[in-house]
Symmetry: C2
Subunit: 139 residues, 2 copies
């Protein structure tokens, strides 16, 4: 429960959906595989839906399926779809007004954070859901 395991769960969920093809999968079933509560899954799917990665249908015979081919879903899209926090946070309390350092540090750290986010995104962009499935299958 420590850090964000949403990315890990998202990859898991998307892999299940990919393996199910066009068939709609119910949140109850996914929750069973991931070993969590269906509501946790539906909350996550809601985020993935907002990012146009999956399509859900309500009602009886409802469920969720991928909105695109696995080869067209980049892990960077998955990461960006989730409400993950920043790599590091700025000061929780404002630094002292008397301190000239604190005043200018926020700007620097924000810029650094953006750079790191960008390099991380580039890294995640190198992989698609298809790559994940291939690696998992060959293991």
């Amino acid at each position: 429960m420590a850090a964000n395991s949403q990315f890990a769960i998202a990859i898991h969920v998307l892999t299940i959906l990919a393996k199910s093809g066009d068939e709609r999968v119910k949140s109850d079933y996914i929750a069973g595989s991931v070993n969590t509560n269906p509501v946790v899954i539906r909350r996550l799917l809601s985020n993935l839906q907002d990012a146009n990665l999956v399509v859900s249908q309500v009602g009886a015979t409802g469920g969720t399926s991928l909105a695109k081919q696995p080869k067209d879903i980049h892990l960077s899209e998955v990461y960006k779809a989730l409400p993950c926090g920043e790599i590091f946070a700025l000061h929780s309390k404002e630094p002292s007004r008397d301190c000239p350092i604190g005043r200018n540090m926020a700007a620097f750290l924000c810029g650094l954070q953006k750079e790191i986010d960008k390099s991380m995104e580039e890294k995640l962009n190198q992989y698609t859901l298809r790559d994940v499935i291939e690696k998992i299958d060959e293991a």
Copy 2:
């Protein structure tokens, strides 16, 4: 969970130390600038000390100063000195035993995590404390 702001505070603290040169700075003074409790600062300094970035002296007239020149302190060292968590966590609960996907996913995600950590470290390695000070001063 409160977001981890230790990296931000560490940069702030190191900048104060750099500006103080060889003079030892007390945790009380630093805490005043950062606007937090002295114990929070001492805990952080303890980590920075373990990484040989700063040197502290106990007793009256005690305090802390940099262990190296600002130009020789890379931000990657600072980051590694802190007990920051991973970018993303694996499943908190084990996936279901019946699920063949979950079993092989952990290995994949660990590898991905290592790749991301590495590219982040490379990014942070491009900057030293001197760069930070220059950027803050010119602002």
